[in-house]
Symmetry: C2
């Protein structure tokens, strides 16, 4: 997925209505833009001495929305600080500090780390010639959040240059990125649509991440190449029911839709020790629905080959969160001898944002 360039403010879906057009269009127009700019376009001056961005964690492949539906979680994500640094070679980004979760786990080889590649792709744009950047990353994700991290960096890099880089250029960077690190490239537009969950209603996510690494390739390998008509109709209408439930703020309906996928999750869940029991447990103890989220391209964790997994349950009140989290942790331990981290957070309604900036 190439959601990174623009984080989902609430619940988002990729609108395929523009997919081919925008994808083709982006490639063509951007390549020509790049060529022309190579000679003519003036270099954008950094307009900020430093910027700090936050990108919330993303639950990807939401229920029946495999490869097109995700949402963001409040108060859980990555902070990226970035500043123009004359000690850094032009067009380069030096990661001067990594703090928070997953420290040491991050792969510092730029070509195997989505987040770095996104930033590098942007810095590689011809109009940027003499500026180098220093990057401070604070990982706030104890789980495979998918796309949060690279999103924050892309936004930060763009902010430094006063958002001179156009959406299409960020998209182009994202596409190049995907080709480099992804074993699977869907025909996706980067055009996002937003589904607003009603402001007046509450939606909480119980996120339980076992210490278990599912190899991305194995998780991909169990995906069916072909889907039977009955399951296709079922999942399509389920995805619509999910979207309608979101817009109505119908958490019960959302939960049912979340749990009802017949195509992807039934094949992936058995690969995760204890997950089947965890799913049952969540429903038993009053969650409205349960699914798994994983980092499709390992962008969030910045690791290639392995992806963290998270069991995601939805509830509409805080009371049950402790009990549900505990029961899910117990189930992972009992069934798979897996330790798990539990986080409960609200639905994020803002998305990736600039949290601080200092003008030059």
């Amino acid at each position: 997925m190439a959601l990174w360039y623009q984080p989902p403010p609430t619940l988002n879906l990729i609108s395929p209505t523009l997919k081919l057009n925008s994808l083709r269009c982006n490639y063509n127009c951007n390549l020509s833009i790049l060529n022309s700019r190579h000679t003519h376009v003036p270099e954008p001056e950094p307009v900020f001495a430093s910027v700090k961005t936050f990108a919330p964690a993303t639950v990807a492949n939401l229920g029946p929305g495999f490869d097109f539906l995700g949402c963001t979680i409040d108060s859980l994500g990555d902070f990226v600080s970035l500043f123009a640094d004359s000690f850094v070679r032009p067009k380069e980004i030096a990661i001067t500090q990594i703090s928070g979760n997953a420290v040491g786990k991050l792969n510092r080889n730029p070509l195997s780390n989505c987040a770095e590649i996104v930033a590098i792709e942007i810095m590689n744009m011809p109009e940027i010639r003499s500026v180098g950047l220093s990057l401070l990353l604070k990982k706030g994700l104890p789980l495979g959040s998918g796309l949060g991290s690279s999103t924050a960096r892309a936004i930060a890099v763009n902010k430094v240059f006063g958002e001179k880089l156009r959406k299409e250029e960020l998209e182009l960077a994202g596409l190049n990125l995907e080709e480099k690190v992804s074993s699977y490239h869907a025909d996706h537009s980067l055009d996002l649509k937003k589904l607003n969950f009603p402001e007046k209603k509450d939606l909480y996510f119980v996120l339980v991440s076992p210490k278990f690494e599912a190899p991305t390739k194995k998780m991909r390998a169990v995906l069916p190449l072909e889907i039977g008509m009955a399951n296709f109709v079922w999942n399509s209408s389920l995805a619509v029911a999910l979207a309608a439930a979101v817009l109505e703020g119908n958490v019960a309906g959302l939960g049912r839709a979340l749990s009802g996928d017949r195509i992807v999750k039934p094949r992936q869940v058995p690969l995760i020790l204890g997950m089947e029991v965890v799913k049952k447990t969540e429903i038993e103890v009053g969650a409205f629905g349960c699914t798994i989220s994983r980092c499709g391209k390992t962008c969030g964790s910045g690791r290639v080959g392995g992806a963290e997994l998270t069991a995601v349950a939805m509830i509409n009140c805080e009371e049950r969160r402790v009990r549900i989290g505990e029961r899910m942790m117990e189930a992972f331990w009992r069934e798979g001898r897996l330790k798990a981290v539990v986080v409960v957070n609200r639905l994020d309604r803002v998305g990736a944002r600039l949290v601080d900036s200092k003008p030059r």
Copy 2:
């Protein structure tokens, strides 16, 4: 599809979230109800001397919503008048008059006519023992409306008995019905969800019905048994985009979603002489999108083996309707030497309704 029992007030989708549950539940609880009622339940007295119902035409299989998404068209449908008739044998329905379109085309063999079967199934319910009904049908559909007709009858029969028959019982009748006349039985719940198109916005349908009968079996035969993952993701997200566009009143988005199906329509459209050109034409002359609608189970026309077809274009203002209709008619004639009937109507926002009733 089993939409018949309750027509979509505006744009509806079958919510699969309850499918298995409600389907199984309906079967079980109803069968037990029937058994128990067989001995204990008093016969419901007709509370109306006569009732008249209207069921608007239904555009079925809307765009990517194959077998789960449809909408109803204003001022176009079937009228059904029904009255308790002591000259009719108990538990029987006598069709005393058929007028309007498709007269003479209707199959009067109850077992091959959905509409009759629905009514008969209801009359067969054990609690009805001594009442016979006369039915007057006025067909208002020049096109394969799918489900309008049987809906009107089911509602009428129920009205006569003061709506004593429970939704589950009507559903059970619908399920029996489907098994009898359908060559294809999807695992569908009869639970409907409604997607409201904003009241303030206008939505018109240009419905062009060529004099062409596509054999239902042939149209079914071209359906793929298996669907590739990329097309599955595409169509699922397209269906969600369609639902979102409806709720937003975004006619342009709705049109794109309507036209974007990659799985069903691309296989069926070539079977209809001239349809490919008609689709292009509609878009060229300013329609927002185009699809085909056909009567999946031939319930609407009451004919088995053949189903009428309609090219459906969406517009948001009346001005272009004449031009678009004419161009579509021309295309059908030019490409396939097919005469066509054009009807332009608004989206129906009410659904099947009681239009008149006389108390006993």
